[in-house]
Symmetry: C2
Subunit: 420 residues, 2 copies
Amino acid sequence: MKAEILTIGDEILIGQVTNTNTVWIAQQLNLIGIKVVHMATVSDDREEILKGLENASQRADMVFITGGLGPTKDDITKKTFTQYFGVELVLDEAILVDVSSFFIKRGREVSQLNKDQALIPKGCRPIRNKSGTAPGMWMQKNNVHFISRPGVLYEMKEMMIAEILPAIKAEFKLPHIYHKTILTQGIGESTLAELIEKWEDGLAASNIKLAYLPQPGMVRLRLSTSGDNEKKIRETVEREIEKVIPMIKDHVFGFENYGEEMPTIEKITSDLLKERKQTLAIAESCTGGYVSSLFTAIAGSSDIFKGGIVPYTNDAKHELLNVDKTIFEKHGAVSKECVLALAENVRAKLKSDFSISISGIAGPGGGTPDKPVGFVWIAVSDGKKTLAKSFQFGDDRNRNIVMTANAAVSFLRKFVLKSI
Amino acid sequence: MKAEILTIGDEILIGQVTNTNTVWIAQQLNLIGIKVVHMATVSDDREEILKGLENASQRADMVFITGGLGPTKDDITKKTFTQYFGVELVLDEAILVDVSSFFIKRGREVSQLNKDQALIPKGCRPIRNKSGTAPGMWMQKNNVHFISRPGVLYEMKEMMIAEILPAIKAEFKLPHIYHKTILTQGIGESTLAELIEKWEDGLAASNIKLAYLPQPGMVRLRLSTSGDNEKKIRETVEREIEKVIPMIKDHVFGFENYGEEMPTIEKITSDLLKERKQTLAIAESCTGGYVSSLFTAIAGSSDIFKGGIVPYTNDAKHELLNVDKTIFEKHGAVSKECVLALAENVRAKLKSDFSISISGIAGPGGGTPDKPVGFVWIAVSDGKKTLAKSFQFGDDRNRNIVMTANAAVSFLRKFVLKSI
C-alpha cells in the first residue's frame, strides 16, 4: 500500500509556515505499514491542485491531502474536489449539526459561511471534525483513495486518530514495517561510518536499509526493514543491532523505537533519575531557563525536578545563590569557580540529590579574546563531589544554547551513572 | 523565475525528521523575487531522484535539491546527477584542499571516503562548504538550473547565503515580491473574516492576495503581491493595510515584514521594555523555565531580563520566594493568592520593574474537578499594582505550556502599555 502526502498551501511555498502536518502523518502511516513514496506541496490554485491529485494518483494507492479547507475565502480544496471527481456538493445533515453546535456551544451565531462547511461532494464519506468545523473528506476514484483533512494540526491529528487510521487498519491488509534507531553522541558521521563499515556492507543481505541522521550533538543510525512476518523482521533487526553495538559502545546513549517518542537525552536522564528515585535542581545563566524547560516539558517531571534558578545577572547569582562577589572580581561569572559555587548552592537550596549549573557566553555579543562567544562552563554536583568542564561552541546564539543544554544533560547523565 | 525545491530523504518520508531546510530556502527565494511553484520529497532511490529531477525541470526554471549528499554510504545524489546530466566525475583540486583542511584542522586523518567528496560531475560549478565537507553542485540542462546542497541545515544555509543567493541576484533579472503580515490575537479566523469581508473583496483589484494563517493563540493575515516596481507594490500593500487596521484594531499586536524574523509576542514585549529601559523577572511553576527561555533566546535580553525562578514544588515557592505556607493550605498552589505573592516577591527579589508569575496544572496528571488539567493562574506586577487572571486551557501538556506562555506575555505587554 503506497501513499502520497499532498499539501496545499501558498504559505508553505513562500516558507512562512513549516509543514509539520506532513511529518506527523508520515510517522502514523509508517507505523501501520503504509509506505509513503512521495510528498508534494502545491499552491492554493485550482489547476495546481488538479495536477497534484492526478500526479499523486499515478504514484500511490492512497493520497492524503492537507490544507485548503476551512471557513475562509481562500479555501478551494472542496471545490476542486468536486471538479476532479465530477460530482456536485450536497448537504450532510450530520455535519450541519456538528458545525452548528460548535458555534452554539460557544455562544456564537452560525453564519452562512459556517453552514456551508456541511456541504460535501456527493459520494464522499465525510469525517467529523470534533475540534473545529471543516469536515474531512474521503473519496475514491479508480481504486485510489483520496483523504482530505483540514490544515490545522490539532484538528487533523484528532481526525486521523479517531476515525481515519482505525478505518484504514480495519479495511486494508497491510505489511509490516519495522525501524529501530541507535542514538549516538560524541562521534562524527564519517568516523562512525568507518567504524561500522564491514557490518554495514552485510545489511543488504538481511533486507535492512541503514541511514545516518546527523543533528547537533547527535548522530542517529536508523535500521529499516519490511515484510509479512512481524516477529521475524523485528528479530532480524534486533540481531543486527546486537552485532554493531560492541563496535560503538562508548557513544551509544539510547534507542528510538519506531512509533514511540524519540527519547531525548533529557528524557533518558529524567527516566534514569526516576528509576533511582533521585531529584535534580538547575542553576542556568546563559541557557536562561531552556534546560529547566526541557525537563519540565516531560509529563511527571515533578517526580524528579525540584526547581531551577535563572540568575541572569551577577547580582542575581550573588543574591539568589550566594556566589561570592570576589569570584566575579577574580575570575568572572563565566568561570570554573562560579559554576562550582552555583552547582553546590542550588543543590543545597532546593535540597535535591543532583544539580547542574551553567554559565557562559551565548552571543552574539559579550565575547572577549579570552572567553569568546560560545565559551561555556558547566558543573554537576551530588553534594559530595562537584565536577566542572568547559566547552567551546560556535557563533550562533540559539545553536549555542541547544549545544550547551545537550552537553550539560549528557554530563549529568554520565555523572549519575558514575562513569566519569 | 519559477523554482522547485526537491528534497531527497527517506528519513523525511517516514516522518522521522521535519523538513526545515525547505522552509528556509523558500523564504530566501521569495525574498529575492523567485516564485516557488512546487515542493517535492522523494526517496534516496536513483529512479525516484531521476523522476524527481525530470518532473521538476518541467515545472521550474531553477531546481533546488537538498539531501543525499555527504560522506556516508547512503548518499546517491552525486551519482544520480552524473547519470541525469550524462557526465563523469572529476577531481576538483580546490574542493580537495577544503575537505583535507577540514579534517587536518581538527587533528583527524583524511580518509578516502572523505577525499571522494572532492569528486564532482564534469561541467559542474562546485560550491564550497565552509562548515562541513560535501560541496554543493550547480549544473544546467536545457536552460534549467539545478542547484544541489547538503541536507545539514547549518551547512546548507551558509552555502546559500555566502555564494548561491548572491550569484542568483547578480546573474538574473528578478521581479519583486512583497508580503506583509498583520498579527492578531484573541479573535477566531471566521469571526475575523466576517469583520473584514468587504475589504477583502476589494483586494483582487489591487493584485493583492490575502491568506489566513491560524495557529495557537494567534491568527496572521498575510497580504501578498508581486510586480516590477518595488516601491509601487509596497505602497499598494501598505495602503490596504491602513484601510483594514481600524476594523480590527483591538486584536492587532504587531506586523511581520517579509524577510525579517516573525516578531514573536515575546520579542515585541522585549523590545517594548527595551525602549522604556525597563526590566523583567519571572517566577514560573508549571511552564518550568519555558517563558524565561523565550526571553533569553533573544540576543541582548540581558538588557531587560534580570532573571527567573522555577519554584516547581510548594517548598521551593516558600523557600525561594517566601510564599506563606497558609496559602497552600487555604487556597492551594494554583490560586490567585499564590501568583500574587509570587509576582510581588520575584520582582522585589530580582529588583526588576515588572514581573510575571505563573502557577497551573500543565497535565496530563494533577487535575481535580475544581482545578482541571489546563487551569492556570497568571499574575503581573510593577511594584505598585499586581493583577491576576485565570485561564482554562486544554488537555495537552506541551500545548498548555505554549498557550500559557503566550497568554502570560500578552498579559504583561498590555499591562506595560497600561491598556488594562
